[in-house]
Amino acid sequence: MCLGVPGKVTEVDGLTATVDFWGVKKRVRLETVDEPVKAGDYVLIHVGFAIRRIPEEEVGQTLALYDELIRATEKDLMTGDIRGEIDAAGGG
């Protein structure tokens, strides 16, 4: 759970944003992030809330771990936690 999950913002509507997680679009809350967020940004999401806007130049590094984990089996604990984080989004 501590890991959170990064996603790409596709639309911002006040305090909620639509975020794309590997093709799955969900709504997340933005009141907990301390920088303005716009479409195209990547944010780190925890239990349905954005907690960090990931600097653009660091997006690739951040995604590398997740890119691998998201394809692992259901039984994998880290994959399970990440999928749980995606399920947690839906705010708004």
């Binding site: 759970m1 501590c2 890991l3 959170g4 996603g7 790409k8 794309d20 997680f21 590997w22 093709g23 809350r29 009141e31 907990t32 992030v33 301390d34 990547y42 780190l44 925890h46 239990v47 349905g48 809330f49 907690i51 960090r52 990931i54 600097p55 660091e58 997006v59 690739g60 590094q61 951040t62 995604l63 590398a64 771990l65 890119d67 039984k75 994998d76 604990l77 880290m78 399970g80 936690d81 749980g84 984080e85 399920d87 947690a88 989004a89 839906g90 705010g91």
Partner: protein
């Protein structure tokens, strides 16, 4: 997900480069030689332990380097009476919502899953926002039993500040990490020489918060990410600080952790919560270790809103095996899962005795799932002994 352009692919390659892993491994060995004695480093994050176990990182570490998981699983350190409070509320007929890990954690007598089977209304949610929406759907009182470190307490605070419906309240079992690091540092039997700080808790608090700790305890702290190479690089930083006798904070995870942290999140956290002393399961009384709702939000605090009577519950006998569980020593870093008589036999993910086997962030569950248990600790502070089969199975691919 994203369209990776050429540059991103390059970054990714660099980030997983086996050559870099080897170089880091050699650096770690050299540093351990220079230090000339066994070194114990503690991390306090379930996701760090998952990554260490999943990627077989312990097989890359020098024999003299002992990386142990401390109290980094928020569900595991939730005290039994806190679970009991949730159970007592649900037995009063109140709808209770909680995270999946917490749902199965045994309290003194029972788990929430067990009382749901007996007819109580207990719902599993993934997010505090989902709990809020649920409260709008159910007409009667609904309590969100909230667990997690500061990273998770921030979203709970956001929900409290979002004008929730009148039937919604929070039973907070949220914990705050910095104070428990102080407790661990003072435990004579632990002898931790460096801390790998939890990356995403530090995303909220910032890394400067550890400066006072470092000054007081003369133990270096390094923030680290979750990629295998992130962790190895953070360990190199820590060993360099230990070798040089330098006590300071180093941020080895700058892509998420800043000096001051997420200040918007901190404002929300401290607007709603205050710290209080309380027991962490199996560890100790941790001054300022619990996050409790401030009196100005008493109307949303389940402890203020309801009479919670635990006496009836405690008259029921606790399960016998629980008394043999050594979760507390495991979370304090003075024992490993293999030191527990129950591990993998009477206590498995299918039939957990202690919280460490329930949560995906619990040391026992992580070792059970990823096979970290094949590294056998002889006794605290003595060297690790690695079984040959572990080298054969895990060591080959990454060692080259």
């Amino acid at each position: 997900m994203p369209d990776m352009d050429g540059e991103d692919h390059f970054r990714r390659f660099e980030f997983r480069d086996p050559g870099r892993a080897q170089a880091l491994r050699r650096t770690l060995s050299k540093l351990c030689e220079e230090i000339g004695e066994n070194v114990s480093i503690m991390h306090v994050c379930g996701s760090h332990e998952q990554s260490i176990a999943r990627f077989g990182l312990r097989s890359l570490l020098p024999e003299r380097l002992n990386v142990i998981m401390g109290p980094g699983c928020p569900v595991c350190v939730t005290d039994m009476p806190e679970v009991d409070e949730a159970i007592a509320l649900a037995r009063q007929g109140i709808t209770l919502a909680t995270f999946g890990d917490m749902y199965r954690v045994p309290g003194s007598v029972k788990s929430l899953a067990q009382i749901k089977a007996e007819g109580a209304d207990v719902r599993v949610v993934y997010s505090p926002w989902e709990a809020l929406k649920l409260a709008r759907d159910v007409e009667k009182e609904m309590v969100f039993f909230a667990s997690g470190f500061e990273t998770t307490a921030v979203p709970t605070a956001a929900v409290v500040l979002s004008d929730p419906p009148k039937n919604f309240s929070v039973l907070s079992a949220h914990k705050y990490i910095p104070p428990v690091m102080e407790i661990i540092a003072e435990m004579p039997q632990t002898r931790v020489q460096g801390f790998l700080a939890a990356g995403h808790a530090a995303t909220i608090t910032g890394w400067k918060i550890f400066e006072r700790f470092v000054e007081r305890h003369r133990i270096p702290v390094v923030t680290g990410g979750f990629e295998p190479l992130d962790i190895l690089a953070a360990l190199v930083e820590l060993l360099e600080l230990i070798r040089d006798g330098e006590c300071r904070v180093v941020n080895a995870y700058p892509r998420c952790v800043t000096p001051e942290g997420n200040q918007q999140a901190q404002r929300m956290l401290w607007e709603v919560f205050q710290t209080e002393g309380g027991n962490w399961r199996g560890i100790a009384h941790v001054p300022n270790g619990n996050l409790r709702i401030r009196p100005k939000y008493a109307w949303v605090d389940a402890r203020e809103r309801f009479e919670i009577d635990l006496s009836g519950l405690w008259e029921e006998a606790p399960p016998g095996l629980a008394q043999e569980c050594i979760c507390g020593n495991i979370m304090a870093g003075i024992a490993g899962p293999k030191d527990c008589r129950l591990f993998g036999k009477d206590c498995t993910p299918q039939s957990p005795v202690g919280a460490c086997m329930v949560s995906s962030e619990g040391t026992c569950k992580i070792w059970y799932e990823y096979g970290g248990h094949v590294i056998v600790k002889e006794s605290p502070h003595e060297r690790f002994e690695k079984r040959e089969d572990f080298h054969d199975r895990v060591g080959g691919s990454q060692k080259g």
